[in-house]
Structures are given as structure tokens and as C-alpha cells.
């Protein structure tokens, strides 16, 4: 994994949509693949927008928007091979998309019908983890398992800039480094941890943390899907080849509120937002496609329609989602029989029966 260029932000596509070269990271990519990436970016943003709307309408309890982070997520998500495994935070809707997880699965959690509930092993995409940083250790352990199995899979552990301060994340760095585990630590530095700017977490760029643990760190333009793809591929490849972990800092910006419960006007000014709008991860790919004749009007129109369909499906699926029954509380707490759970389930069922037909 090249470390040399790390001092500089790796970029392969400028905000204006121009391809640029980087001494350490290159990407050979055809028109079709570019269009596919663009499609991913557009669709994940559309799912996100729809989810935000659903929350406003009371259909979701909360939503953590990925707005502005589409490239970081699609770039890294598309860098993964089938046998690779992702451990997300609560914001990796774009990665979920790339892994083939149905957006409706994500919505269940935010609607409050479950705490996750998709089968992590079906798409090699672990459940969302909301305790900050905890999943980086699971990812490391999983990677240690891959290593023991002699598998050629690798793992990506997602986390935020705020999470870099948690003990768990730093312990994950130590374990991964000492055991040379095939794991890529992918930090989306969106520059905010709720209301706290990045300087409350670190006084130096985050990618430099890796050197302190003995593995390479790279800062990539997190709004550049091509650069993220190239850098993540290289890091996964490096892990696969037995070179151990890499830290990728995807430098980006949280364009929306932390979640729909948050009110960013209390703690940040509009200026930054305006300047980051010019770095939009989708616009630059669109500009690149258009300017170079890599996609025609029909492509954009078809995508628009697909996007509308997806949004409609997500909306309908959300509204159709059944609430869990009261006795589901007792399900899946244990794999094996458990007398206390059985007793409580039985008593509660009997108690609920007393209301049968009554109004209470």
C-alpha cells in the first residue's frame, strides 16, 4: 500500500469533472463503469432524500442522512469484492446499496420495527452499529478469522471522525496491526461529530493516526468517487496480499443535519456548506460524463425514471411495513431455550389475553 503520497489529498476527478493523475493511485475505468457509479450515486441520494421525507411525515422515527458522503460510500462499496465484508456505522446506506442490501431493510431500523434484522452473511454486510467505534473491533476480529481461514477476503470497518477518539477504535488499530489483519479502516471525516468540529477530535489530519500504529494512512478526496474507488481497492488488495491494515481518511463534509433530530443552525455557519456544495460528489461525475460524451440525455432520463420508481418503492415499502407483535419482544434473545424468557412470554401473553375484546 503506497504511503508516499499520503501527505496529499488523493484526487482523480476534480470538482469540475476533470480527470487528473496521481503518482500513487491510478484507475483504469471505462464508460460503462463510470455510468454505473453515477447511477449508484444518484440512486443512493434519492433513497436518502426519500427517507428524510418519510421521517418528516412521521413514518420514520429518525434518519441519518448520507448527503454529501455518496462518493465516499459508493467508491469504497464498489471497491469491495464479493467475499469482502463490511462493518458499517449507522450512516452507510450507500455502502449497503453497493452490497445489494435492500434499502427497506435499512428503513426498518429507523422506523422502529427492528434494530436491523437483515442477515449480515447474506450480503457480507454487518448490521448497523450505533455505539460509536464498537464495530471496528468486530471488523478486526472478523478479519483475524479470515486470516485463520486462509480466505482471500478482506474487511472494511467504517467509522466517523468523531469515532477516532474512542478507545475501541484505537484498540482495533492495535489488534489489526499486531495481528496484521486484513482490514481496511475507512474513516469518513465529514468534519462533524454532531455539533463538534473535527478539531475537537484531533489536531492533525486523521490519516496520520495510522503511522503511530505502524500501518499506512491515506487521505483521499471523499467527494471523488474515482479516487475513493482506487484508494480503497489498493488498500483491500494490500490486505489480501498479507500486508495488513490501512487507514483511509475520506475527506468529505456532512451536508445535512447529523440526523433528522439535529439542528445544525445552532452550531455552524452556512459558509462552509456553500463552499462544499461546489464539491458535490454527484455533479462532478455528471460533468465528466456529459463533457466527455460518456453518457447521453437518454441515460440521464432513464436514470431519473429509475430513481423515481425506486423512491416510490421505498415509500410504499415503508408504509407497508408491519409493526412487530408484542410477543416479538421475547424472540431471538437467546439461541437456546431460556426459562425466564419463556415464563415472561407466557405471562405477558396471558396478560394481553385479559384485554381481548375489551377496550383497554
Amino acid at each position: 500500500m503506497p504511503d508516499a503520497g499520503a501527505a496529499q489529498l488523493v484526487q482523480l476527478l476534480t470538482p469540475e469533472g476533470e480527470r487528473v493523475e496521481h503518482p500513487d493511485f491510478s484507475l483504469d475505468i471505462g464508460a460503462e463503469e463510470l455510468r454505473a457509479l453515477y447511477r449508484d450515486l444518484v440512486l443512493v441520494r434519492r433513497v436518502d432524500t426519500e427517507a428524510t421525507a418519510l421521517q418528516r411525515q412521521g413514518e420514520l422515527g429518525i434518519w441519518a442522512s448520507l448527503l454529501g458522503q455518496e462518493a465516499a460510500q459508493v467508491g469504497s462499496g464498489r471497491a469491495m469484492a464479493a467475499q469482502d465484508y463490511a462493518f458499517p456505522t449507522y450512516r452507510e446506506h450507500g455502502v449497503a446499496w453497493c452490497r445489494g442490501v435492500d434499502p427497506l431493510n435499512l428503513l426498518g431500523l429507523f422506523r422502529g420495527v427492528n434494530h436491523g434484522g437483515w442477515d449480515p452473511n447474506e450480503k457480507n454486510f454487518h448490521l448497523y452499529t450505533s455505539v460509536i467505534g464498537a464495530q471496528t473491533l468486530h471488523a478486526t476480529g472478523y478479519a483475524m478469522g479470515l486470516q485463520k481461514d486462509g480466505s482471500d477476503g478482506a474487511v472494511i470497518a467504517y467509522f466517523g471522525d468523531g469515532a477516532s477518539s474512542q478507545g475501541d477504535v484505537n484498540e482495533a488499530f492495535t489488534f489489526a496491526s499486531v495481528f496484521n489483519a486484513p482490514v481496511v479502516f475507512f474513516c469518513q471525516n465529514n468534519q462533524w461529530a454532531i455539533s463538534e468540529p473535527i478539531d475537537k477530535q484531533s489536531r492533525i489530519p486523521l490519516y496520520q493516526r495510522a503511522a503511530g500504529f505502524g500501518f499506512p494512512g491515506v487521505r483521499v478526496d471523499g467527494n471523488d468517487v474515482l479516487a475513493v474507488l482506487a484508494v480503497t481497492r489498493a488498500a483491500l488488495q494490500s490486505a489480501r496480499e498479507g500486508n495488513g491494515p490501512t487507514l483511509i481518511e475520506a475527506f468529505t463534509y456532512r451536508m445535512g443535519a447529523h440526523t433528522t433530530s439535529d439542528d445544525p443552525t445552532r452550531y455552524r455557519l452556512n459558509d462552509d456548506l456553500e463552499s462544499w456544495k461546489l464539491k458535490d460528489p454527484i455533479e462532478r461525475v455528471k460533468a465528466h460524463l456529459s463533457r466527455n460524451g460518456l453518457a447521453d440525455q437518454a441515460f440521464f432520463e432513464t436514470l431519473e425514471a429509475e430513481s423515481d420508481d425506486l423512491a416510490a418503492r421505498v415509500r410504499k415499502g415503508c408504509l407497508d411495513m408491519a409493526d412487530p407483535g408484542p410477543l416479538s419482544i421475547f424472540d431471538h434473545v437467546y439461541a437456546d431455550a431460556h426459562p425466564l424468557i419463556d415464563e415472561e412470554r407466557e405471562q405477558f401473553a396471558a396478560y394481553l389475553d385479559t384485554f381481548e375484546g375489551s377496550e383497554a
Binding site: S165, E196, P324, L340
Partner: protein
Amino acid sequence: MTQITLAKGVNMGLRKAMEADPKVLVMGEDVGKLGGVFRVTDGLQKDFGEDRIIDTPLAESGIVGTAIGLALRGYRPVCEIQFDGFVYPAFDQIVSQLAKMRARALGKVALPVVIRIPVGGGIGAVEHHSESNEAYFAHTAGLRVVACSNPVDAYFMVQQAIASDDPVVFYEPKRRYWEKADLDESLTLEAATPLHRARVMREGNDVTIAAYGPMVKTALEAATAADEEGKSLEVVDLRSLSPLDMPTLRESVRRTGRLVVVHEAPVFLGMGAEVAARVTEECFYSLEAPVMRVGGFDTPYPPSRVEEDYLPDLDRILDAVDRSLAF
């Protein structure tokens, strides 16, 4: 008289304490400009500065651990834990350091640290945002654990907690943050009920209901409903979970002969277990029925769409009352 919410009560209490003692600090995640995710520290940083209202790195062990160091240097830090489910990374610092350091030092240091925890469910939140973990801390010698249930108590109790030379885990019932009550600001701290005293919120003769934090309101509603059925419930707000105010509980139970303990936390080894065991030992001959416990089930806190089934409500309290009376 000012009408305040419970959140505002804590806010005003913090302000009072900070005005009275320059050593009082507030530290935590997002407590500054944002005023905390529940706005409990709203406006404090503007008035007291970044040096006293400290936005920390995102690390709970770091928050409590550095608070201990600040306390050793003579400060009185109030740590905000953003949600109940996020206190566990600080568990070691709380139970092995904060709780034990004074005994370790043979009394030569004091650890006046307050850990504020918005607690419990009922707000439709996602996982880890609705937990009730008071039993962990109440089981830990060296800590004091209290829970406020209303705006006026919130205002006084947070000041008392800060004034304590012992570490205090201070629970705020998050779904009651917006409940309102009138506060007489002219009342002094000295006039307030002592921090570790329970309070009879409603007198009754048939069954005692002991509750705390968010469940006090539910218990009072149950008492009103029971009244209509001709059952007279006495409601005790425990307020202090460690130590327990046994004299108040004893007096009530000896009179009514029956006790139902209510909390959101899982029943197994929840506060109800201790209250039941202790009251039974001390009031054995007065009890007409075993102490009944109404609490969360012994499962992880469920998804929000089913939390109303998980949480004790009026009906489940009345059901326990009936079971008690049936003995």
C-alpha cells in the same frame, strides 16, 4: 413562580451551581454550542465560556477519566453522558476509579463528580437510546445514585448532587424532559428535600407503589385510576436509589401491608429486587402479599414500535396491584 420543564429545571440548577462555585464545570459531547442533544445545557457555554462548558472528544471513558483528574485538582465536574446506552465505555472509570478512589486514599481525596444520564424509553428512539441501567451503579459501592421525576426536583437535586463530595450518578427521565411544573425560585437549596430522601407523592391505604424517575408519573396515573375503582394507592417516589430511604418505605409498607415496585429496567436484578428483599426482611410480619415487581422484560430494549408493550404502564401497574390484593 416560573413554569419550567424538567429539562429547564436541570439547566437552571446547573446554572445556579456554576454561579455559586467557579470550580463547577460541565463536560461532555455537544454540551457547548448545541446545548446537548436535549438542550439541557442550552445557553450555558455562552455565559460561562468554553473553559467551563467543555465539548470533549467523543470518548466516554476519556470524559469520566479526565473528570476524575479535574476533581483531584479541585474542580467539580458534571459529566453529561449523551444517552443511557453510551455510558458503558466509561464503566471501568466509574466503578473502578470514581467509586473506589476515596476509600483507596483513606479519605484523603474527594471525588465530587456528577454523571448526568438521560435515562429510559418512551421517546420512539433507536437502540441504545432508551435503556435503564441504574442497577449497575446502585450495586456499586462508593457511588450515590439518584433519579429525578419532576422539574422542581430536577432543579434542586442536580444542585445537591453537585454539592455532594461523593460521586453521584444523576438520572434524568428523558421522556419527562418536557413535563412542566411551577418553580418558586426564591426557595433555597437548604429548604429542599434532602437528596437521599424518598417522598410520598400521594397518600393511600391499600397498596404502596414505589417508583422513581419516569415511572412516578405513570404510578400517579395508576393511583388516580385505582381511586375510581375504590382502591387507595400510596405512591412513593424513591428519588434516591443508592442509598435507599428505608425509613420512608418501611413506614408506608407497614401501614399498607402491600408493595408494588415499578421501574423500566428489566426486573431480574433490577432495583425492585433490592427493594423487595430489603422491605420483606424489615417488614416481614406486616406484609400481606409478596412484594410485586413491575418492570421491563428481561430482554434487550425492543424496537420503538413495540416499546409501549415493553414499558410498564398504568394497566400493568394495576394488574400487579390486583395480584397483590388477591393474596
